[in-house]
Structure formats: structure tokens, C-alpha cells
């Protein structure tokens, strides 16, 4: 009789707790504003305490399984389950204090919060069900399983808040990455200085707290428009005036200053990054300017990779030898491609020999055909070198008829036609090639026709 009463009491208390948890976000809204310091003080214990329910909850199924062989462990399971419910509650309260106190908001925070609430209620349900049925019976195992799935999801949301949502996938092996999500376009001008240099700084250093997942100080820096909109203190970027821009002020404070950004022990921005941000703001904080005078950013060029040919090395070497040429890798990274070197073959190398290399066309990134016997007939063959970046045709009989077929080569950035008979009309189609940055026409009719 007393036992039944006890259970009823516990049931009622659990019900009320669940209601309270569900109402919490509506009573104390996460409004993106900071609140009392004591809330933040306690709240910052959340990351520590949160591991307690994780560990305890994971222990429960183990004990349940092991209890089949040692019944004493079944008793322990109930105890651990009760403890995990209590620790869930504690972690949840602390987590809420952290978010509420420090003014966190955003979709990620909300997901993590709702996950935690559902998780706590689920764990509570497990405990009730288990004590009512006196053991791991009825639909308790299914409920426990769903609680564990929820645990994994909620924990991942929490991890994404602290480490950023690319933390897990950043070093994912490339083949697996293909299945992952594409990156979000942050700017309408992917070639702009903002998109190439400023946004990546924000993305790597700021967006963890000022992004879609978590919005501190009501400021989001994950897109250009949001960055310009500013936060609770108004605009943080004043075009043309870095000194008055809160963003620049914060990143240039002494690192031990309370308002220094990035905060909470994250590494400060590098001096050159600060210089780029300053120059970018000073020159108007434009979303589309491609370069800033006086600012030079050395970019690690990532070469486009050619398909894998590592299995064909002997075949390639033999074909090249029989043609009297060499096909040498650009670097020890075979994906950088092959260079076709014809200097030893000279006039013995013509269109027919080039056609013989066609099986390896996608691997050749640089074709040195200067001073060989190739003619205009080589151009349709070269057009099949889909990964070609540089083409040397200097001092050959090429007249330029059919040069337009080279427009099929998207990566071609270097074309040397010096000492050939190409005319201005013949090279006209090349103007459509976006990547062709180096075109050499020394000693050609085309160069003489130009003013």
C-alpha cells in the first residue's frame, strides 16, 4: 500500500517536472540578451557536468545486458538510471543558465535545448516504467534505445556549438566527403576579396558563436548581409572607418581584455588577418571588390587533380619512350599530372606521334610542343587533353586555324604561340577563355597587327 502510494507520488512529481521543463523555454525566453553574472558563472559548469549523464546513461544498457548473467547488476541498473535522471536535470538546468545568462540564441542552441528536454523526459519515463514493472520488461528496452539515440543526437548538437559544425567532417577522407553536404554560398561574389579572404576568417574564428547555430550578442557573421546588419550594439562594420567599427575594435584589444574577440581562450586572429580586415573595412567593406590595393594575399594554390594513372606508369613510360619523348610527373603527387617533354625528339615529333599519346590525354597537364613538327592538325588532338594547363606551340608551323578548339580546355592558363604564323583573327576565339592568363605572341603576325 505504502509502495503504491510512493509510486503515485513519484509519478506525479515526474509529470510536473516534465511540464516544467517543457514550459521553461517559454517562461524564460532565450532572447539573445545577456543576463545575471551568477547565471553565467554556474552555467559555465555545464560543459563539465554534461558528461555525467552521458556516461551514466550509456552504462544502463550495459548493466541491463550484464544483469542476465549476474542478477546483482540489474539492481545496479535501476540505481544508475535514477542517478542519470538526476544528472540530466542538473546538466539541463546548468545548460539553460549558460544559454540564458550569456545571451545565446540560434537554431543550434534551440536544437540542443529541445533535445536535452526530450532526453530528460525520456530518461524519466524509463526510470518510471522500470520501477513500475520491476525490471527491464514491457516496452522499456525500446524506450531506453530511443533515449540513447536521442542522447547521441543531442550530444552532437552540443559539440557543434562549441567546436563548430564542421569539426567532425573537416578532416573526413575525401571519398567520404562527396556524400556530405555542399558548402553554403556565403557571398553572391565568390571571386571577391570578401568571399576569398574575409569570410573564411569569420568562418573559422567567429561563426561558432556568431552564426546560425549560436547567436551571441544578436550578431551573426555567417553571411555578408548579416555581418553588415550588426548586433545588439548596432553595426559592427562601418565602411571606410575601421577605427569606429566595433568588430575591428574588439579583435585589436589586448588579448586579456574582457571584450577581446575571439573570446573564451580561442586563439587571437593573426596580424595579417587583422590587417586584411582593416584594409577591407577602410576600402569600403565591399562585398564585390576583387582585390584591395596594398594588400597581397598569397594563396596556396590547389592544383586541379587529374584522374588516377598510377596503374599505367609502365605503359605511359613505354609509349613515351617509343615516341622519343618523356612524360614526367609534375611532382611526387601524381594527381598534379604529367608534363609532355619533347625537347629531345624535336622535328621528329609531329601530329601522328602526338595522336599516339591520346590514351593518356587526361593526365597531361602541360604539353611542350615548341620546336616540334606539329601543325594545325595537332589542335583537335590537344583539345582532348582535358586537364591541360599549359600548351607550348612556339616556333611551330601552327597557323592558328582551329585554335578555337582549345576553348574546350577549361583549365588552360598558358598558351605560347611565339614564332608561329598566327594572326589576330586566329586568336580571337581565345578571348572567351576565362582561365587563359598567359598568352604569348612574340614574333607573330598577330603581335605585329596590334598597335
Amino acid at each position: 500500500m505504502i509502495r503504491l502510494k510512493g509510486i503515485k507520488l513519484v509519478c506525479a512529481a515526474s509529470f510536473l517536472t516534465s511540464i516544467a521543463l517543457l514550459l521553461l523555454p517559454f517562461v524564460f525566453k532565450l532572447d539573445g540578451k545577456t543576463h545575471a553574472d551568477w547565471q553565467q558563472f554556474l552555467g559555465r559548469f555545464h560543459p563539465t557536468v554534461v558528461h555525467l549523464p552521458i556516461g551514466l546513461l550509456l552504462l544502463v544498457p550495459l548493466l541491463e545486458l550484464a544483469g542476465r548473467y549476474r542478477p546483482a547488476l540489474l539492481e545496479a541498473a535501476m540505481f544508475i538510471l535514477s542517478l542519470s535522471v538526476l544528472s540530466c536535470l542538473l546538466a539541463l538546468v546548468l545548460g539553460y543558465l549558460l544559454a540564458y545568462g550569456s545571451g545565446d540564441a540560434g537554431a543550434g542552441v534551440a536544437r540542443h535545448m529541445w533535445g536535452a528536454i526530450a532526453l530528460t523526459i525520456g530518461a524519466l519515463g524509463c526510470a518510471l516504467l522500470r520501477s513500475a514493472t520491476g525490471g527491464p520488461r514491457s516496452f522499456y528496452p525500446y524506450l531506453l534505445a530511443s533515449v540513447l539515440v536521442l542522447l547521441a543526437w543531442t550530444a552532437h548538437q552540443g559539440g557543434s556549438l562549441t567546436h563548430g559544425n564542421k569539426y567532425l567532417t573537416e578532416f573526413l577522407p575525401a571519398p567520404l566527403k562527396r556524400f556530405g553536404m555542399g558548402t553554403v554560398q556565403a557571398s553572391a561574389f565568390p571571386d571577391s576579396f570578401y568571399a576569398r579572404h574575409i569570410h573564411p576568417i569569420f568562418d573559422a574564428n567567429c561563426v561558432v558563436c556568431h552564426g546560425a547555430q549560436k547567436v551571441k550578442g544578436n550578431l551573426r557573421l555567417d553571411t555578408y548581409d548579416r555581418a553588415m546588419r550588426g548586433g545588439e550594439d548596432g553595426a559592427v562594420i562601418i565602411p571606410g572607418n575601421p577605427e569606429r567599427s566595433i568588430l575591428w575594435q574588439r579583435i585589436t584589444l589586448p588579448p586579456d581584455h574582457k571584450k577581446f574577440m575571439p573570446s573564451e581562450g580561442k586563439p587571437p586572429l593573426k596580424p595579417e588577418q587583422i590587417a586584411w580586415i582593416r584594409a577591407w573595412i577602410l576600402q569600403g567593406a565591399s562585398p564585390e571588390l576583387k582585390s584591395l590595393p596594398g594588400i597581397y594575399v598569397r594563396e596556396e594554390e590547389t592544383l586541379p587533380q587529374v584522374p588516377d594513372y598510377s596503374g599505367k606508369m609502365t605503359e605511359i613510360a613505354e609509349t613515351a619512350r617509343s615516341a622519343g619523348v618523356t612524360l614526367v610527373p609534375v611532382s611526387r603527387n601524381l594527381g598534379d599530372g604529367l608534363i609532355l617533354n619533347t625537347v629531345d625528339a624535336g622535328q621528329k615529333f609531329g601530329d601522328a606521334q602526338l595522336a599516339g599519346l591520346a590514351p593518356f590525354a587526361p593526365y597531361i597537364v602541360e604539353a611542350e610542343l615548341g620546336r616540334t613538327a606539329v601543325t594545325d592538325g595537332c589542335l583537335p588532338i590537344v583539345a582532348k587533353f582535358t586537364h591541360l594547363r599549359a600548351l607550348h606551340l612556339e616556333e611551330t608551323a601552327v597557323t592558328g586555324a582551329g585554335l578555337s578548339s582549345l576553348t574546350q580546355l577549361p583549365q588552360l592558363s598558358y598558351l605560347n604561340l611565339s614564332g608561329t604564323q598566327v594572326t589576330a583573327a586566329a586568336i580571337a576565339p581565345l578571348t572567351t577563355m576565362k582561365n587563359l592568363r598567359h598568352l604569348y605572341l612574340y614574333n607573330t603576325p598577330a603581335a605585329r597587327q596590334q598597335p
Binding site: 611532382s331 598534379d336 629531345d344 598558358y414 598567359h438 614574333n443
Partner: protein, 512 residues
């Protein structure tokens, strides 16, 4: 009784070459055979024992496959990363050009004429014997005016009107510095990374690491420019283009400034190409036997050098035949270029070699050691070099070669701001100065139109971004796709490298 296999007399059993051993071990065995030979073939058993100990050690260290004694360009698998430059041309101004008279503009010096260089600037520096005894160190401002040129507004001396036209293409380094104050150690340090002779030079490392780009010309060529007897010429010797402990096939092939570019390349009377071929085949056969017997890698380099010389009999005349050069070439390089052996001619040759797949070309111009009569000698030196240097860079650029060719200009050190010997308003001398000197690079891999590093108001000390020789060389290697820390060769118990044992770093701000 069954004998232990290592104790049998090898004459009656399989030779070591028949055993299923790692190729590297066999090579090393062949080397050991040399020692056996020395002992008059008396130590066969000793030799087997040596192999056993060698094998044992290798098996313990698990290193048997890595035991390739003479790594080849293929086994090194270079470049380490995709390079910007495939080849390099080094214009070496032997003797030490005076930086403050050419590119390191110091406008304040004119007011300090004949004042002493402050002790605080000189510090406790040990000077050369040539000026250490001087009672005074009077400042000698540059005799020449400077003007700004190009989009980059770079200051260039009136002595270099042609260089001034291409400043936007140059990467000027004002803060190069060295530890050596005398010619031989300084020029050795620049070329080999070590003041003492015996180390491979930059060109040898490149030949060794990157291999040849063509069959008919050497990978590394040195062009010695004609000497002007009026200038103060310091000797340059083959130690500067030596391969050191690397196989001698990686050493530079020096071309002479007069007569046959390469001695004994033309066949003697009565010997035609067929006779030469037969003779070479016979000599090669003998060499191959020697190689099999002794396993000395130098025998193989000898074979390859003979073959190279044979091919050069055809390729060098073609290389030096400038009759088909268009008039625009002569307009650019100037009349000096028609005379074989001049600096201008060598610059033209450098371009022709670059076109023909020579990996590394070093042009030496001597005479920059202006201890006295700067106002008399410097205009001559600049007149000899300025136009041709400009012509080379411009020619490479218009022909599309500068994209993947790194051009380097520099000497072994700089010169003092104070006058050596008497200072008059008309003339002065300058002593060796290792603490700062100006060099420049252009082309593949480096960032055009910048000036890097700063010196103080006296062009005496580096005050910003110093570039020591080892960093300079590390940067050059980087442009050619080589990580200077990874291109090493084990010798005398050390993984030797061009940049030496003091940690060196690539100057990334110089890179494009």
C-alpha cells in the same frame, strides 16, 4: 658435416648477385667488393662475413629496402610539390657589387660626406685586413643620382638605366646577408651553403634532385664571362660548381669564354663520327666490366659523361649557332652579344639553353671587387652587364619563358659605406661588407614588383626582414618545388643538405 652457407667458398657456389636479396644490399655488396679488391682478393671469407653483418644489421633495422646506396632522381621522387619554376638562371656578380651605388638608395648619406660611420652602427665588427688598420671610416655617399622607376616607384641608380626599366618584374632583396667577409668563403657559402669546399653546389643539388630535362645537353652549365683585365677580378674555380660528395655527373659543365666552349669536344682530324662511336662503345664495354667488378658508382658516371660528350658534339654547335637569331635579339642584347664569351653573349646563351632544356645555368661575371676607383670602375661594370641582364629577363618574358624560369642576380657580399683608402669628392673605394647586400630574383615562383627587407640609413645593418644565405637558398629551392629540409644526402654521418645544419626557412613573403 654440413657447412654453414656463409662459410663456403663462393667460387664453388652461387654468387651473392644470384641470391634473392634486396637490390640495395647487392649494390652495397658491390661497394664492399672494392675493399676486397684492395686486399688482393685475399679476404673472400671476410667479405661473406661482412655481408652477413651488413645483412644482420639491415634486418634488425628493417631497412633492407631503403638500402639503396646511390639514390637516383627517380627514387627521390622529386619535386616534393608542384614547382613554379622548372629551371633557374643565376647571374653571379663575383666580387661583391656595392649595394648603395646600385639599388639600396640612401638619400641621407650625401649630407654625411666624409663624416665617420658611428661606432654604434659598426658595432664590434671585425673588418678585413684591408681596412682594419684605417684610422677613420669616412662615409662615401654614392657618386650617382637615383630616380624612381616603374609602377612600384622603385629607386634605381643612374648606373642601371636598363635594370630601371624592369623593376616592376623584379623581387629585390635588400637584406641579404652572409657570415663570410672574404671572397672564397663567401662565394662558397652562397653556392654550396658552406664556407669550406667539398659540398655540392645549388646546381649539383638541382641536377641530383630534379634530374635532366633533355638528353643532349648537360643539366647544369656554367658560363664564364670574359675577363676585363682593368677590373679587379677574383678567381672563380670549379669548386663552385662541384658536386661535392654527390656523383660527379651532377657537377656543372663549364663553358669557356673563348675558343671551343667545351675543350676536346671537336673530333681530331681523321676521326669521324662513326670512328668516335666505335671507340666509345669499346671504352664503355671496358668501363662496364670495371663497374661490374668494382661497383664504383663513379665508373657509371664516367660512362654517362662520355655519352653526354658524344651527344654534345652535335648539340653544342647547334646551341652556339646564333646565325638564325632574329634582328630583334641583337637590338635587345646589344652589340656585345655578338662576341662570344662576353657577359651579353652568355646571357643570350642562357636563354638558348633554357629553351633547350638545361635545368640550371650559372653565368659568372667577375670584377665587382671595387676596393678603389669606384667612380672609374663601376660605370664599366654596369655598362658590361646592365643591358644584357635586362635583355635576358625581357627576352625570357616576351618568349613566355619567364613564367617557369627563376632568374637570380647577386654577388657573394656587399660593400662598405665607408671609403677604403682616400675619400675625395670625385672618387672612393669600398671594402667587403657581409652584413647586408642587395640581390634580386625574377620569374617563376617569386612575387614581382616588391622590395623586401630594409637596411639602416648607412646601408650597414639589416633593420627589417633579414635574409641570410641559407634562407635565400631555401627560397630558391622552394621555387623549384623542393623542400630544402627533405633533399638530403647521407655523408659523414650527417643528412647533408644545401642549407646546412642551422635551421633555415623559406622566405614566404618573396613567393608569388
Amino acid at each position: 658435416m654440413k657447412q654453414h652457407p656463409l662459410c663456403t667458398d663462393p667460387d664453388h657456389g652461387p654468387t651473392i648477385m644470384d641470391l634473392p636479396l634486396a637490390e640495395g644490399l647487392k649494390t652495397e655488396w658491390a661497394e664492399l667488393e672494392t675493399r676486397r679488391h684492395f686486399l688482393g682478393r685475399a679476404g673472400k671469407v671476410l667479405g661473406w662475413a661482412a655481408l652477413a653483418s651488413l645483412g644482420g644489421e639491415r634486418m634488425l633495422t628493417g631497412d633492407a629496402h631503403a638500402a639503396n646506396v646511390v639514390p637516383s632522381a627517380q627514387s627521390l621522387r622529386l619535386p616534393h610539390f608542384a614547382p613554379k619554376a622548372k629551371r633557374a638562371i643565376y647571374l653571379f656578380m663575383s666580387g661583391g657589387p656595392p649595394q648603395m651605388d646600385l639599388l639600396d638608395y640612401k638619400p641621407n648619406l650625401s649630407q654625411l660626406y666624409d663624416k665617420d660611420v658611428p661606432d654604434s652602427v659598426r658595432g664590434a665588427q671585425q673588418l678585413t685586413g684591408m681596412t682594419a688598420g684605417q684610422a677613420r671610416f669616412p662615409i662615401a655617399p654614392s657618386h650617382w643620382a637615383f630616380k624612381q622607376y616603374g609602377k612600384t616607384d622603385t629607386w634605381v641608380s643612374d648606373l642601371l638605366p636598363y635594370t630601371a626599366r624592369m623593376v616592376d618584374d623584379l623581387t629585390i632583396i635588400k637584406s641579404t646577408n652572409t657570415e663570410a667577409i672574404n671572397h672564397e668563403p663567401a662565394i662558397m657559402l652562397l653556392n654550396t651553403g658552406n664556407m669550406n669546399a667539398g659540398k655540392p653546389c645549388l646546381g649539383a643539388w638541382l641536377s641530383y634532385g630534379l634530374g635532366s630535362m633533355n638528353d643532349n645537353l648537360p643539366t647544369f652549365v656554367v658560363l664564364l664571362s670574359k675577363v676585363n683585365p682593368k677590373e679587379n677580378n677574383q678567381p672563380v674555380s670549379s669548386r663552385l660548381w662541384s658536386s661535392g660528395f654527390l656523383s660527379s655527373e651532377y657537377a656543372g659543365v663549364a663553358m669557356r669564354s673563348s675558343g671551343d666552349p667545351v675543350l676536346y669536344l671537336s673530333d681530331p682530324k681523321g676521326v669521324n663520327r662513326d670512328v668516335r662511336r666505335k671507340m666509345l662503345d669499346a671504352v664503355n664495354e671496358i668501363n662496364r666490366q670495371t663497374s661490374q667488378e668494382l661497383g664504383d658508382p663513379e665508373t657509371n658516371s664516367r660512362i654517362s659523361q662520355y655519352e653526354m660528350a658524344y651527344r654534345m658534339q652535335a648539340s653544342v654547335p647547334e646551341l652556339t649557332d646564333v646565325s638564325r637569331e632574329p634582328q630583334s635579339t641583337w637590338d635587345l642584347y646589344g652589340p656585345d652579344a655578338r662576341e662570344p664569351g662576353t657577359y651579353a653573349y652568355n646571357c643570350l646563351m642562357a636563354r638558348r639553353m633554357a629553351e633547350r632544356g638545361v635545368r640550371y645555368i650559372q653565368v659568372y661575371k667577375r670584377g665587382w671587387d671595387v676596393h678603389a676607383d669606384v667612380t672609374g670602375m663601376l660605370p664599366v661594370l654596369c655598362q658590361e652587364t646592365d643591358r644584357a641582364t635586362y635583355a635576358l629577363v625581357t627576352d625570357l618574358k616576351r618568349r613566355g619563358l619567364l613564367d617557369d624560369t627563376l632568374v637570380i642576380w647577386g654577388g657573394e657580399f656587399g660593400r662598405t659605406v665607408y671609403s677604403q683608402g682616400g675619400l675625395t669628392p670625385e672618387n672612393y673605394g669600398r671594402d667587403h661588407h657581409p652584413r647586408c647586400f642587395t640581390t634580386w630574383m625574377a620569374g617563376g615562383g617569386v612575387r614581382p614588383g616588391i622590395t623586401f627587407g630594409e637596411t639602416d640609413d648607412y646601408s650597414y645593418n639589416v633593420v627589417k626582414d633579414p635574409v641570410p644565405v641559407r634562407d635565400f637558398n631555401a627560397t630558391v629551392l622552394h621555387c623549384l618545388g623542393i623542400d630544402h629540409n627533405k633533399l638530403t644526402y647521407k655523408f659523414q654521418g650527417l643528412d647533408q643538405k644545401l642549407t646546412g645544419t642551422t635551421p633555415a626557412s623559406v622566405v614566404t613573403n618573396l613567393l608569388a
